[in-house]
């Protein structure tokens, strides 16, 4: 049995209490929510916090709230709850696409959206999803709340704007009329980390032209959005040639590394292939008038 190094444990029931515990125990305290990243690392003794602050009882962080123009999702909302949410699926089908392929049901029953974003694993799916949906992240600290956009929040692998003594409390998704979104991942086996994945969101105007576009990649060495790929889409009507060009640019923007999941050229190929696929689906979901093959 793998066992972690000795640590102490505290359970918070409110954000204020969690913040107080983080402050009291300082640098060596870590929050645990779903625990599917932290606990395996602790068992392998790669992570050795002195204190683990459990926030699973912080009920205020667990909600999905639809408001005019936006959807607010509490940081402690489980993957399974996102997947089970009708409103999430209706407004942001990309979230359901991603959640269906995040790990397995056991992990989805425990893992949280806040934990995923805060862990910032380079192969983590929801960061890309939140990027393309232009979500904002609410961070609470002793001095109150601040709201940061994804490009500011996500700073790179395992690095975010959330400081040691702060907590991610909420993710806010802007709702846009005429938006379609999609996510697709290649994995060696269900539950494996992504070999590569891509996400896209398109907004079409009444005439069927793309007014907004966002393309993101997972596990492909691209931080933030593939801006050049998105730029060629805006103002155009969706079609296969356009998507091919956007996909080519997304692949060019990727910087994958070789590992057990595949060589660089394969992963770059996937950046291209998967971008095309998610653009087709996103356009179809946005109600594209022109039939897009494979949508």
């Amino acid at each position: 049995m793998q066992v972690p190094a000795p640590f102490d444990y505290a359970r918070a029931t409110s954000v204020a209490e969690a913040l107080e515990l983080l402050e009291r125990h300082g640098e060596e305290a870590r929050l645990v929510a779903g625990g599917h990243s932290l606990l395996p690392m602790m068992k392998l003794r790669l992570a050795r916090p002195d204190w683990v602050v459990d926030i699973n009882d912080v009920a205020e962080l667990r909600h999905i709230t639809e408001e005019p123009g936006r959807l607010r999702v509490g940081a402690l909302t489980r993957h399974a709850e996102l997947l089970g949410s009708e409103v999430v699926g209706r407004l942001f089908p990309i979230v359901h696409d991603a959640e269906r392929v995040i790990a397995d049901p056991v992990v989805r029953n425990r893992g949280t959206i806040g934990g995923s974003l805060a862990q910032a694993d380079p192969a983590e799916d929801l960061t890309t999803v939140c990027d393309v949906l232009r979500a904002e992240v609410v961070i609470a600290g002793r001095d109150g709340e601040r709201v940061v956009a994804m490009p500011e929040f996500h700073r790179g692998p395992y690095e975010t704007a959330c400081a040691q003594d702060e907590i991610v409390t909420e993710v806010r998704f802007p709702v846009r009329a005429g938006q379609g979104s999609a996510y697709e991942k290649v994995e060696r086996r269900v539950g494996d980390w992504a070999v590569a994945a891509a996400g896209a969101a398109l907004v079409l105007d009444d005439g069927g032209a793309i007014t907004e576009a966002a393309v993101g990649l997972t596990a492909l060495g691209l931080e933030g959005l593939a801006v050049e790929a998105a730029a060629v889409l805006v103002g155009q009507r969706p079609d296969e040639a356009l998507f091919a060009e956007a996909a080519r640019l997304a692949a060019a923007a990727s910087a994958p590394v070789e590992d057990g999941r595949g060589p660089v050229d394969y992963k770059r190929h996937l950046a291209d292939e998967l971008t095309r696929r998610v653009l087709r689906t996103a356009a179809a979901r946005a109600g594209a008038l022109t039939a897009v093959q494979g949508g």
Binding site: Q2, V186, V190, G191, V195, G262, L270
Partner: protein
Amino acid sequence: MTAVQERSPMPQEREANPAMDAPDRPIGYGRVQRKEDPRFVRGKGRYLDDIVLPGMLHGAILRSPMAHARIVSIDTTEALAHPKVHAVVTGKDLEGLNLAWAPTLSADVQAVLATDKVRFQGQEVAFVVAEDRYSARDALELIDVEYEDLPPVVDVRRALDADAPVIRDDLEGRTDNHIFDWEAGDAAETEVVFARADVVVSEEVVYPRVHPAPMETCGAIADYEPVEGRLTLYETSQAPHAHRTLFAMVAGIPEHKIRVVSPDIGGGFGNKVGIYPGYILAVVGSIVTGKPVKWVEDRSENLMSTSFARDYIMRGEVAATREGKILAVRTKVLADHGAFNATAQPTKYPAGFFSIFTGSYDLQAAHCSVTGVYTNKAPGGVAYACSFRVTEAVYLVERMVDVLAAELGMDPAELRLRNFIKPEQFPYKNKTGWEYDSGDYEPALRMAMEQIGYDELRREQAEKRGRGELMGIGVSFFTETVGAGPRKHMDIVGLGMADGAEVRVHPTGKAVVRLSVQTQGQGHETTFAQILAEELGIPPEDVDVVHGDTDQTPFGLGTYGSRSTPVSGGAVALAARKVKDKARLIAAAMLETRPEDLEWEKGRWSVKGDPSAGKTMAEIALGAHGTVELPEGVDGNLDAEVTYDPPNLTFPFGAYICVVDVDPGTGKVHVRRFVAVDDCGTRINPMIVEGQIHGGLADGVGMALMEFIGFDEQGNCLGGSFMDYLIPTAMEVPDWETGYTVTPSPHHPIGAKGIGESATVGSPPAVVNAVVDALAPFGIRHMDMPCTPARVWEAMQGRPTPPI
């Protein structure tokens, strides 16, 4: 969906349970629910880690982070100072006990704890015994080991290079990494056939290193009682008796003072055949501390240090006529055995039964040669339901037959049908010395083709190819070789490969059967009760099956190589027949008639011509233990014991067809359908047979698509967790479609052949053949496992690469 074809003179299977209709009617074979399942499904199984002994301490092993390094020093001072630590054992301490090295199952030695060098990442370096498992792990970090790096031998193809570092400098006079050369068949005769053949195909076929990865990892609890000098050893062992004998030899504790208990086992697949350093260290820990010591490895330890499987690089060649008559096969194999030669197979067979690579085909000649080498990797090699390397053999020949089919432009099923050994040729002597006991191959393949709709699938495939869609149909036909001995040819470290069974019928007619083989989840408590029930005509629920305790069971070599039913099953049947014969004598005495005037109807001896005059087994049992005046020479019990020495192995076979779809954009393989038609001779409990097949098919999909223990250039194991070593889930496997034929073994007491490993052996080539078939439009004739999306995509780019 199950298809059936019986061509046997004996009705070998009853689908329904007749007892359901007539509760008073005794039954034997059939779909009886497993007797062990009530405790398993309630979470009441008793596995090693469930056992807690009074005062028990916990052990943990410090392992080498390096693949090859000299140990400069080990400082245990700080670990010993840990308040909960009772002992820290190093290789030096073991040297004092003459226990630093232990014999392997392949005439080599392996380090229990490293003394001079570490030779693979994960090798055992020190052992801590503490009050709880947490403290034991904490204390591992307090041991300071200084290593001096040595260059590792990772690439097996370079292991025999003149400048390769010598791994086994502990062996006197060692100047290279060569372990053995072994061959079978006739090289010269084979060369003659190859020289005049119309067509020769050749391919390098790699069966990469994989791991059995049982759900339960390995562990032991040693309880040494110093006053009487008795050792009780609880172990995750597939072979408790063999382990006891070896422990007596290694540890110097007399065999009669050792009791090995193998409790419920959470999967073995060959991983729990060998004796691992952890078992020996638990014993040392108990002797040193005077308390019971439990050691249970974690998942990474299991994957990184215990017996792996396969790791064969095979150059395969097939010679054939232009018309598709296969004439001969030959192969040269480079076998990676890791740092110590610790494979578990019969002594005379350093490459196991690999020479069965002639497959199911009637050939003119065959030759194989195998070279085994050391590398800086974990030892092992014969595991994962391989039937002593039949799985490598079947994979090679079935892959190569498909390569030949591609060369000839012939349908792979048709090519197989043309070359099968014919039913009238059995018993069939192949060109490498095996005598196949029985077989009727064509009906099995035809049944599989019919069940899957082979011709229709080929039409669909042609249509899809026209649209650029990639669909593949893979055929594999295997002949298994299971149930070792006979003991005159087969032994493991000198112990003949026979197995025993002891039957006792109690006075009330209930019975107990004690076995030397050891279940790991495959339902022995049910199957063996059914064998006895069939023979004695008593209900299986009246039979208790005892196994896994050397104090309670007869000697035998244990469960691996699908040998439980072929060997101990034979023993049970023969012991039951002894009981039945004795019951006849006693019944005759009770009925005051002559034994030859009695006839047997299931469960009862009755007077010929007067069926109303008879005695049931229960009545006879009471008579045997009661006051009936027994005939001379008949003692007062209904017991019998048999050690069964099989006259030959048994040769189950099967026809498997797999259908895959490959995503042309991503290389991802989806297994759409899988039909498995198996023939294991007599089917005792068809439900258990199907369960064994389902499990093995999942193994095959796993190996074909994802399972792989790789290493980086420094010899770091890249498959040391389930995040890296992928095993398939329900999402990666289809609903299995099974069928069967029944061709009993002519030499086996009940005609049974063994089924435990058939599907693991037979399914990988079906899946890979299907993938390669899907990639035919790219001109691909071969790609190696695992067929991960990336590797399939590389093959589609025209550069399939070996995994090692």
